[in-house]
């Protein structure tokens, strides 16, 4: 049985459908992420799990028990808010001890747990500081410690890294992964930043307009998006209009007008005649001169249209024979050389037959 089960939850605000018949199940100990653009319903869902809002229809079950009758303060679920919401009139130690005090924990136990929590987030020397005396990263750690100190069944994180600057965020991500593994508590993380979701999560639910588009592990989500929205939202992707001509056990044969044929990985439910798009990631596209990519089943001629030097990689945009643009990512492994190809060069682009994915619609 899943630890948290969301069954056919719907929530409307007037005419606006914030959540449309959403079902999800989250396993114990999982780092689960709700990912989507703003307005997709992820925060509404999080607030319902926390108990700040109730579904119009459907159920939310924790360990098999419906949460509908349980107010937020009685749920064994804590939230790390986007603004952290630390109590400004309490010290770091008092902030962290707050949930223990509320649950009438005996003072000796409070002291022990507090010490443990402070050490866990490396803030023992800041115990008597007030929130306004802390840096952004320290505030975030206090909020985490406060949420975890009385061992909730579930910790909800609402855009909890958004307020940190880019460099610190990367550090905090590593800490967050380690912390979650250490405490073994289920984390439900809400974010609109796909890179963050990919880096942190065991599984991700991609949401759009109140619906769940796909639930998968990060690598599956990235490698095999189920539809155009997911493909587009997560990372960069090349999309080529295509039609299925053959559906074999081992592969899918696609026809691309003005270009020729693409061999793609097989797809359940695809049939000859289906129209859609073939999606391939830029880093899977290789670029070379004539004859270099002949061993690949998919290779096409083109002309370098533009290039962006980004330090670690260069992004080439190549115009194919049918006028379509395709992006190829080339790591800059040779130091000091920015441009392997010049704008206007005739090149070949190619990729493996098991790369990319055909998407209906």
């Amino acid at each position: 049985m899943a630890q948290l089960e969301i069954r056919n939850v719907t929530r409307r605000f007037g005419d606006f459908v914030a959540l449309d018949n959403v079902s999800l199940s989250i396993e114990a100990g999982e780092f689960f992420t709700l990912l989507g653009p703003s307005g997709c319903g992820k925060t509404t869902l999080l607030r319902m799990i926390a108990g700040f809002d109730l579904p119009d229809a459907g159920q939310i079950l924790l360990d098999g028990k419906d949460l509908a009758g349980t107010p937020a303060e009685k749920r064994p679920i804590h939230t790390v808010f986007q603004s952290y919401a630390l109590f400004p009139h309490l010290t770091v130690a008092e902030n962290i001890a707050f949930p223990l005090r509320m649950s009438r924990c005996p003072p000796t136990e409070i002291r022990g747990r507090l010490r443990e929590a402070l050490e866990q987030v490396r803030l023992a020397d800041k115990a008597d500081a007030y929130p306004r005396e802390l840096s952004g990263g320290e505030k975030q750690r206090v909020a985490l410690a406060r949420g975890l100190v009385n061992r909730p069944r579930l910790l909800l994180l609402d855009e909890s890294l958004a307020a940190l600057d880019a460099k610190l965020r990367e550090e905090v991500q590593v800490e967050l992964i380690n912390l979650q593994r250490e405490v073994g508590i289920t984390f439900v993380f809400v974010t609109h930043a796909q890179a963050e979701a990919l880096a942190l999560s065991h599984r991700i639910a991609v949401m759009s307009r109140g619906k769940v588009e796909q639930v998968d592990e990060p690598s599956k989500l990235y490698g095999f998006p189920r539809n155009r929205f997911v493909a587009d939202f997560i990372g960069h992707i090349n999309m080529i209009d295509a039609q299925v001509t053959e559906h074999a056990h081992s592969h899918l044969r696609l026809a691309v007008s003005g270009l020729g044929e693409i061999i793609a990985p097989p797809l359940k439910g695809a049939a000859a005649g289906d129209r859609g798009g073939y999606a391939i990631r830029p880093e899977q596209v290789r670029i070379g001169v004539h004859g270099e990519l002949d061993e690949l089943k998919n290779h096409f001629s083109g002309v370098v249209h533009s290039l962006l030097y980004q330090g670690d990689v260069s992004v080439y945009r190549v115009m194919l024979a049918n006028g379509a643009m395709i992006e190829a990512l080339l790591p800059n492994s040779a130091p000091g050389r920015a441009e392997l190809f010049e704008v206007g060069d005739a090149v070949k682009v190619g990729w493996r037959h098991d790369a990319g994915v055909f998407l209906h619609g």
């Binding site: 303060e73 808010f81 109590f87 005090r101 649950s103 005396e133 009385n150």
Partner: protein, 318 residues
């Protein structure tokens, strides 16, 4: 570090320069031009009279009011400086009693104002933004009518012929209890003190409560606090600066108030304010009136200092 920042707490300080930032030429002059006039105003009309009063408290009263001369040719004429008035003040317990009674009256008025103003301020602060301004306007609306008229209105409301008195005494009669007089009693004084000063408590409380971050209450609830705990653990401690400034705005003027006890109080309901007024306008003993004023100022400063200390203890979190 738990020290409170001085921002906004230092009257008369008009220095705007930030540390480590070199002021532009002319900034110094601008500062004096902007801050100078009000500073001078306070100096001339507040500090100087205070000093004059302090000096007057060590003089003898003049024969027909005013002060006796510092030096006189005739040795039979009272003159020079003396501690006589202070000896007089501390020599008779009646003055200490009136001070204590006044402090208790002011304390009672302040606490009743606080108890009534807090829920109201909270209600306004948590109302939709649109209706808040209207509600604040309603709170300060009584100021549109004259203070004395409002106090005299209570005379009619509490008088023996008033519906309130008749209703109350009728009920007491049924219970076999002797009738009571509402007017000219400490009760009448207290009710009017509260009535007049209530807005001074509501406004600072509202200003404070309105600024509270609502996500703090969400966080408290999320972490297991029920409605009662959310109030006492989050809302109330965060509102303490508002509680203190509202209390100061009620307590201090009430302590020196003389009009309300004079109009609505009985002969036994004399407060410090009445006593001081009596010295200047009745017995014409200016030095003793000054002494009483000085003692009142000292009491107020002591209490204000105590409040400031209490307020600073939890760190300057607002």
């Amino acid at each position: 570090m738990r020290s409170r920042s001085a921002g906004g707490m230092m009257p008369g300080c008009f220095c705007m320069a930030e540390p480590g930032r070199k002021p532009a030429p002319g900034a110094r002059l601008t500062r004096y031009l902007v801050g100078g006039p009000p500073f001078l105003f306070l100096l001339l009309l507040f500090v100087a009279p205070g000093a004059i009063m302090a000096l007057a408290s060590f003089r003898y009263p003049g024969e027909f009011g005013g002060l006796a001369p510092l030096a006189a040719a005739d040795p039979n004429v009272l003159h020079g400086v003396t501690l006589e008035t202070y000896r007089f003040f501390f020599g008779d317990p009646i003055y200490g009693e009136i001070f204590v009674k006044s402090i208790f009256m002011a304390l009672a008025a302040t606490l009743i104002c606080l108890a009534m103003a807090y829920p109201l301020a909270l209600l306004i602060a948590r109302s939709p933004k649109k209706s808040r301004d209207l509600m604040v306007l309603l709170v300060i609306l009584p100021f549109a009518s004259n203070f004395l008229i409002r106090v005299y209105a209570w005379m009619i409301l509490l008088g023996p012929q008033s519906a309130l008195s008749q209703l109350l005494n009728g009920a007491l009669h049924l219970l076999g209890i002797a009738p009571v007089q509402l007017l000219f009693s400490p009760f009448a004084v207290l009710i009017a003190l509260v009535y007049v000063h209530l807005p001074f408590m509501v406004l600072p409380l509202y200003t404070n409560l309105e600024k509270h971050d609502p996500s703090l209450l969400d966080a408290a609830q999320d972490l297991g606090a029920n409605a009662w705990q959310r109030f006492w653990r989050v809302t109330f401690p965060l509102s303490l600066p508002g509680v203190f400034s509202g209390s100061a705005l009620v307590f201090i003027p009430v302590l020196g108030m003389f009009a309300i006890p004079e109009i609505l109080g009985g002969t036994g309901d004399m407060l410090v304010g009445n006593l001081i007024k009596e010295q200047f306008l009745g017995t014409r003993d200016w030095p003793f009136g000054s002494t009483l004023s000085i003692m009142l100022t000292i009491v107020v400063l002591l209490i204000a200092g105590l409040i400031a200390k209490l307020g600073a203890r939890r760190g300057g979190y607002v």
